[in-house]
C-alpha cells in the first residue's frame, strides 16, 4: 500500500543524550549488590558499577538498567517530563493518610490480671485491687476524644491487665460508642486483647451481637507458652486453647487472632511456633521481637539475646512459613506483610509502630485506667518504668484538639520525621521503615537514638535485607508467595 509517509526506525525515538537524577537513596544490600529506593517506595537492585555509572551520568540509554531506572522514576530525560507529574502524584498519595489522624484508641480498662507473664510490659497488679479499674467518667471523656478524631475509621481496643476482669465497663463503652456513632457514621471496629481465661457465654453473646473480635497471646507449643506465661495452678496454654475454641464457636473462625512474644526460650523453636499457629487454624503469625519495657527490662531479658540471634530465629520461622504456603495453605507473616505494604501499596501501611513521623498520638492514643493519656502502647510501658516523656495529657481536661496541638506531641513528631533524621535520611530502607521513639527513649534516653547502636535499626535492616533479597531471587517462589499476601489483605 502507498504510505502517506514512511515509518521511522526505533532509533529515531531514542531518548535524547543527557539524563537527570531524581531524588533517591542508596546503600549496600549484600556483599554483591546495592539497593536504591525513592521517596515513594520503588526500588532497584543493582551492582556497584551500575550505581557509579548511574550517578556519573554514564548509563547507556538502551541498557536494561537505564530503562528500569527511568520507568521507576529514578532518572528522567527530556522526552517525558510527565514523569515529574507522576512522581508528585505518588508522593502526595503516600503522604495523604497522615492527615486522617488517629484511628486506634486503646482503653486500658483495668490493670488487674490473673496471669503472671515474665515479660509483662504493663506491670500487672493482682486481681483483687479495684482501684486499678478505669472510671466511667474517664471512659466517657475518652470516647469524646476518640470521636473527635476526623478519621472515618475508628478502632476501639480494650487492654489491661486482663480487660475481661472489667467487662461491665467494656459493655458500657461499646454501648455508648454505638450511640455516638449513630450521628458520627464512622467505620467502628472493636477488639478485646485478652488471655481468654474469663470468657463466658454471656460475654461472647454480647461480643457477637456488637461485632467485637478478640486478640490473644499464643507464644508457641504448650511447654513454651506455659513457661513464658505462668498461670498459678493451671496450664495457660490449655486455657488459651479452650478460650480460642470457645470464642470461635460463638464468633466464627476469625473471631480471634493471636500474637506471639519471643523470649530466649523461643529462639531455638521457630518452626514449632509456626506449626502451633498452623495447627490452631490461624492464617497468620506476627513474629515479634522482645521489647525493652516492663518486667522484661527489669529482669534483664533484653540482654539475654542479641539481635543476630533473633534474626536467625526470624529467618527460620519465615522459611517454615514459606513451606506451609508451598503446601497450598495461604499463611502470612504479619511483620513482613507490613513491610511489603510499604513496598507495594501506594498508601503504605497504617501500622502505627512503623511510620515517619512516628504514629504517636496521630496514629494511636491510649487512655489509661488512671486517667492519663499516652501517645502509644509503648509509651504506657515506658511510663510504668518511670519515664513520662510520652504522656500527652489527662482525661480530666484534655480534648482531641489540645492533645494534637500540644508542644509535647509536636516535639515528638518533629524529631521523628526520618527524612530529616541523622543516618535515616541517607538510608535506602527509609521508605520501608519507621520511627520507634519509645524504644529509643527506653534504651538510650533519646527519641531517635544513635542508629549505629540501635537494636531496632539492626533488626529492621536485618529483616529488610532478608526480604528484599528473597524478592529479588528469581529462582525462588518466595516473591510470588509474599506478593500473594498483600493481594489477600483487605
Amino acid at each position: 500500500m502507498a504510505l502517506a509517509r514512511p515509518f521511522a526506525h526505533r532509533s529515531a525515538y531514542a531518548p535524547p543524550p543527557g539524563y537527570r537524577l531524581l531524588p533517591f537513596r542508596f546503600g549496600q544490600l549484600d556483599h554483591a549488590r546495592y539497593l536504591a529506593t525513592n521517596d515513594v517506595g520503588e526500588m532497584v537492585v543493582l551492582s556497584r558499577a551500575d550505581v557509579r555509572a548511574f550517578v556519573e551520568r554514564r548509563l547507556d540509554p538502551s541498557s536494561s538498567i537505564y530503562r528500569e531506572l527511568k520507568a521507576k522514576h529514578f532518572l528522567f530525560d527530556d522526552d517525558a517530563r510527565v514523569a515529574l507529574d507522576l512522581l508528585a502524584i505518588k508522593a502526595r498519595t503516600r503522604a495523604e493518610p497522615i492527615a486522617r489522624l488517629t484511628a486506634l484508641h486503646i482503653f486500658v480498662v483495668t490493670l488487674r490480671c490473673d496471669h503472671a507473664c515474665h515479660y509483662c510490659q504493663v506491670s500487672r497488679q493482682n486481681e483483687d485491687r479495684a482501684s486499678f479499674d478505669m472510671s466511667w467518667a474517664h471512659a466517657e471523656r475518652a470516647l469524646q476524644i476518640a470521636f473527635s478524631s476526623p478519621n472515618t475509621d475508628l478502632k476501639l481496643e480494650f487492654q489491661g491487665g486482663e480487660p475481661l476482669l472489667n467487662f461491665s465497663l467494656i459493655r458500657r463503652i461499646v454501648d455508648r460508642s454505638l450511640e455516638l456513632n449513630a450521628a458520627a457514621g464512622k467505620n467502628l471496629t472493636f477488639v478485646i486483647a485478652s488471655n481468654l481465661s474469663r470468657v463466658t457465654d454471656e460475654v461472647l453473646a454480647y461480643c457477637r451481637d456488637h461485632g467485637i473480635a478478640f486478640s490473644t497471646s499464643l507464644d508457641g507449643p504448650q511447654d513454651l507458652h506455659d513457661q513464658n506465661r505462668p498461670l498459678p495452678g493451671r496450664s495457660s496454654h490449655a486455657v488459651t486453647m479452650a478460650g480460642i475454641a470457645h470464642v470461635r464457636r460463638s464468633l466464627g473462625q476469625d473471631g480471634v487472632s493471636a500474637l506471639m512474644t519471643t523470649t530466649e526460650a523461643s529462639l531455638s523453636r521457630a518452626e514449632e511456633i509456626v506449626d502451633e499457629y498452623v495447627r490452631c487454624g490461624f492464617d497468620s503469625i506476627f513474629l515479634r521481637s522482645l521489647s525493652p519495657y516492663g518486667f522484661a527490662a527489669k529482669k534483664g531479658l533484653l540482654r539475654s539475646y542479641s539481635v543476630e540471634d533473633w534474626l536467625a530465629f526470624y529467618r527460620r520461622g519465615f522459611e517454615r512459613i514459606l513451606e506451609v504456603n508451598r503446601g497450598g495453605r495461604v499463611f502470612r507473616e504479619e511483620f513482613a506483610t507490613v513491610l511489603l505494604q510499604k513496598m507495594y501499596d501506594p498508601q503504605g501501611t497504617g501500622y502505627v509502630d512503623l511510620q515517619s513521623p512516628s504514629g504517636m498520638g496521630i496514629g494511636a492514643l491510649v487512655y489509661n485506667y488512671d486517667g492519663r493519656i499516652y501517645a502509644s502502647d509503648e509509651a504506657r510501658m515506658l511510663a510504668a518504668m518511670g519515664d513520662d516523656t510520652f504522656v500527652l495529657g489527662s482525661l480530666e481536661d484534655a480534648t482531641f484538639r489540645s492533645i494534637m496541638v500540644s508542644d509535647q506531641l509536636a516535639d515528638v513528631l518533629d524529631t521523628t520525621l526520618l527524612e530529616s533524621a541523622p543516618m535515616c535520611s541517607d538510608c535506602p530502607f527509609l521508605p520501608f521503615c519507621g520511627a520507634d521513639p519509645a524504644f529509643h527513649q527506653a534504651t538510650s534516653r533519646d527519641l531517635l537514638g544513635h542508629k549505629a547502636f540501635s537494636a531496632f535499626c539492626e533488626k529492621q535492616m536485618g529483616v529488610l535485607r532478608y526480604l528484599i533479597g528473597l524478592l529479588h531471587e528469581s529462582a525462588s517462589d518466595a516473591g510470588t508467595i509474599m506478593r500473594g499476601w498483600i493481594r489477600s489483605c483487605p
Binding site: M1, A4, Y13, P15, K72, D79, A80, V82, D85, K90
Partner: protein, 396 residues
Amino acid sequence: MPLTLSGPGIRRLSASGSDVPFVVRVATRNNDNARRADEVLLVDDYTAPSLEGYRAVLVRAPGKSRAYPPDTYLLDARYSYLTDGDVLRLDPPRRSINVLYRRSSRSNALLVTERCDNYCIMCSQPPKDADDAGVVDELLQAISLMDPGTEEIGITGGEPSLLGSRLIELVKALKQSLPSAAVHILTNGRGFARSELAAALGALGHPDLMLGVPLYSALPEDHDYVVQSKGAYDETIRGVLNLKRHRLRVELRFVIHRNTYAGLPMFAEFVRRNLLFVDHVALMGLELMGFARANLEQLWIDPVEYADELRAAIDVLDGAGVPCSIYNHQLCTLPIELHGFARRSISDWKNEYVAECDECAKREACGGFFVSSKLRRSRSIRRYVASVGEEEAERG
C-alpha cells in the same frame, strides 16, 4: 458473522435521483412511521408510482423493468442483512452505501474522522488527511434517527479528540438522543493534554462514558516508536491525568505484538505504581488490517510465545485490584489460568469461527477470530474436548 458495512452497494434504477449523499433510516412495509421523510423503504420490489413520503426506496430483487419513482435504487446482495431501524448514508453518484448503525448490533461505532496525530505501525484504520468537516453533521443527523433504546455505541476514528468542541457536541447529542447508551470513545488521549477539552467533556455529565486510550509501554521511547510520534507518550499520559481529574472513566489499551510484548510486565508494574486509578486495562491481540497487514512480518508473533509475559502482567494488575481483560485472543492460545480474563471482544461484523471451533467445548465462551486473521494464525488453534479436569481448572 462477517458483514460488509460500506463500499459499492447501490445502483440507481430510476431515471433521476439525488446527486448528493444523504442519511436515512431503513423502514420495511411493516413500519408505519411519521418520519418517512428521513427514511428509506426497503422492499423486494416496488410498484407504486410515487415514494409515498419516503426519502428513497431500496429494492432487493426487481421484477421486469418499469418506471420507478426518483431515488429508487437496487441494493447489492451483500447488504441483504439490513432491516428496520438501521441507519445508512447513501451516496448515489458514487454508488456507495455506508451502514452507520445497525439497531440489532452491540458493536455500533461512529467513525468521526480519518485524521490522526499518531501513526501507529499496526494501525488497522490508517489515517487519511481528508477534509471531513461534513462528517460530524451527518453523524448528528444519524444519531437523531437511531433507536432511543440503544444500549451501547462507540466513537472512533482516526483521532476523535481532533474534533475539539465538535466532539463535545456529539457526546451531548448521544446523551440526549440515546439516554440509555453506554458510550465508548477510542482516543489516543493527546487532545486531552489541554485541560479545557477534558473539562468540557466532564462538564457534560454523561451517565455512562468510557475513554479507551492506547498506551504501549512504561517508557516514552517505546511508545513513541510504536505510534511514530515524538512526544506522544507525554501528551497521552497528561491526557489520561486530565480525564481522571474531571472524573471521567479511562481504560488503557495495550496491543500486543512483536514490538511490544517484551514490555508487558514492566507496563503492568508502571500502571500499578502510577496509574492505579484507571478503570480498566485491556491487553489486546493484533487485528491484521491496514498497517498491521503491511508490517505483518515485523509485527506478527504467536501468542503462545508471550504466555509468560502476559501471565506476569495480568498477575500484577489483578493483584493490584485493577480490572483487566484480554481481548482478541482465542482461548486455545491462552494458558488456562488466563481464560477467566478473556472476553468476547471482536465486533460482530468482523467476527468468525473456523473448522476447529465446530465441536469445541469452549466455543460459547470464546470470542473467536477476526476475519482478517486468516492471514496468520497461532499454531495452538485446536478444539477443547469437554472433561471434568478442564472444567475444574477454569477460573470461577
